[in-house]
Amino acid sequence: MNRGYVLRRGFYAFITFLIVLVLNFAIPRVMPGSPVQYFANPRILPSLEAKLLTERFGLDKPIWTQFLLYLVGVFHWPPDLGVSYTFYPAPVWTVIMTYLPWTLLLVGTATVATAVIGIVIGILIGSKQGSKTDTVVTSASLFLWTMPFFWLGTILLWLFSIYFHVFPAGGAASPFLSKMPLLDQIGNIAEHAFLPGLTLTLAAFAGYSLMMRNTLVEELTQDYVTVAVAKGLSHRAVLFKHAARNAMLPMITLIGLNLGYVVSGALLVEVVFSYPGVGYLTYQAVLAHDYPLLQGLFFVLSMAVIIANFFADIIYSLVDPRVK
């Protein structure tokens, strides 16, 4: 691992973090209307809460003081991101944290599944470039890739839950989960996560497989591949020990960069499957015009993606000896 590289990447991640911090602060303040109007819960006594909020965030004070108060809140533990009005009087942070694990489970499994399937299919079609398989699989991948994923989810839901009753139609687990034996608990959770996960995977693997295919095709023209063949290595060995290994490197960066998209996709898919993750939460926040919760969601999700990207960078520096 190269320390200079990790430090540089860490520095970039930190700058990104700062910009998110500023964006999150600025958006409600530059938008038309006063921030108090957004942050005060219309269902609670507006005047009373407006007073409390103004005090807490210093909304009548100069912008720098407001920013300072905001920073103090964010760097507090647990971070003070305001109070949700949908779940009044629960703090935004607490609300998000109860929903976040389900999304992490979904995004995590989908990311792994997408990468694995994408890379395997990419190798399959990349090593048979120009063949019938290549044409058919590539076209099918492209079609899946251009589908709106939430719509794909709706179709799967209708097909497998409503029509065939194979999978549960919503939720993340059965209500009686805690009464089940451990193995059944895991099975139950997996059963609920399967369709949303499948949706995300189907919608996103093509991006990887097409990229993997083209990277591999390019690697296969390199001199070191010719040498590997000349050394007497079998086709499989050349492919897996050398070409695919090299072609996989850019995938790591791509997976990191794509996390933002996967998270976005997960939000909509959760809505389709009534899956109680942050996407579902976002949907409720949108319906209720719960601005503090929306801000908090944006902030937390951005943090998660920034951190995941930083780890992707570190992994990259571990597997590619050329990283400077």
């Binding site: 070191y224 040498v227 050398h242």
Partner: protein, 317 residues
């Protein structure tokens, strides 16, 4: 019996429409312990010859004729057999050896890979041999664990040669091994090759576009033009009294640092497009000695008066 024998070797690449004859009816041989230099300009088919000896041509290539190594036909070998034959008998230092190594695996591990693929050597034994090979080609042994990008251009070239020698093959094909190198490093590589050939008795097939490089190492020289072998003979004959007008012109096109340069002259025109070849002798449009027969009839390779074989109507009647 020659070590390697090419008989009427032709290689055609499939294009969107029709075929492109990259190598056309070429016959030549490499004898044990000799250095055969193959010279020619880009697109003359010299690299294709190298790839067909190892049978590593792209799928779009159609090969006819025969490639015999130690009497065994390479083109009809089964898959298992051809994999065992590669590197064990004929190894390759590819064009632009700067990229001969997988960038994410250490150089030593790639040499070890070759050794362990063909021989039942243990891991430690293979690494020991990799270090020895580094010593043989003049790289500090401890650098065997370096990654390719950590070696300089000259060192990478040496490491590629070390890897080619890892199984003590009878023949090593060098495809433009010095083209990307500076003169001084080029000289070092050339004398390394001369030494290896002397000490190990290995044969080389040395492919280059720069005839002057061959002057130093080749025992025999073959000159190719537009997919055809136009002249082949002992190096001293080829350099002192070349018979084919193309060989002569190539020699005259290189200004030297010593001796007469008033004879230096350019060759007019450009090499022909392989998809639309001129009738008769392929060099005739650029040849100062061309006459009627040259544009009609393709000359055959015949013995010349100086001791080479040349494909020219002016040679050998």
């Amino acid at each position: 019996m020659p070590l390697l024998e090419l008989k009427n070797l032709s290689v055609a690449y499939r294009l969107q429409k029709g075929y492109l004859m990259a190598v056309d009816q070429v016959s030549m041989e490499v004898n044990e312990g000799e250095v055969l230099g193959i010279a020619g300009e880009s697109g003359c088919g010299k690299s294709t010859v190298a790839l067909s000896v190892l049978r590593i041509l792209p799928k779009s290539a159609r090969v006819t004729g025969a490639v015999a190594f130690g009497g065994e036909d390479v083109l009809t070998m089964g898959d298992e057999r051809v994999r065992a034959y590669r590197w064990k008998h004929v190894a390759l230092v590819p064009q632009g050896s700067m990229n001969a190594f997988d960038p994410v695996i250490s150089v030593g591990a790639q040499i070890v890979e070759a050794i362990r693929l063909h021989e039942s050597a243990g891991k430690e034994e293979a690494w020991r041999r990799a270090r020895e090979l580094f010593g043989l080609v003049g790289i500090p042994k401890e650098r065997v664990t370096n990654y390719p990008h950590e070696l300089s251009g000259g060192m990478k070239q040496r490491a590629a040669i070390a890897m080619a020698l890892s199984l003590s093959p009878k023949l090593v094909i060098l495809d433009e091994p010095t083209t990307a190198l500076d003169v001084v490093v080029q000289k070092q590589i050339l004398s390394l090759l001369a030494r290896l050939q002397r000490e190990l008795g290995v044969s080389f097939m040395f492919i280059t576009h720069d005839l002057s490089v061959l002057a130093e190492v080749a025992t025999r020289v073959a000159v190719m033009y537009a997919g055809k072998l136009v002249e082949v003979g002992p190096a001293d004959v080829m350099f002192r009294s070349p018979s084919h007008p193309y060989t002569q012109a190539l020699m005259r096109a290189i200004p030297n640092v010593h001796g007469d340069i008033s004879q230096v002259k350019s060759i007019l025109g450009t090499p022909p497009d392989l998809t639309s070849l001129p009738k008769g002798c392929r060099f005739s449009p650029r040849c100062p000695h061309s006459f009627g027969r040259c544009t009609v009839e393709e000359p055959r390779l015949l013995p010349s008066t100086t001791g080479s074989m040349a494909a020219c109507h002016l040679v050998g009647g």
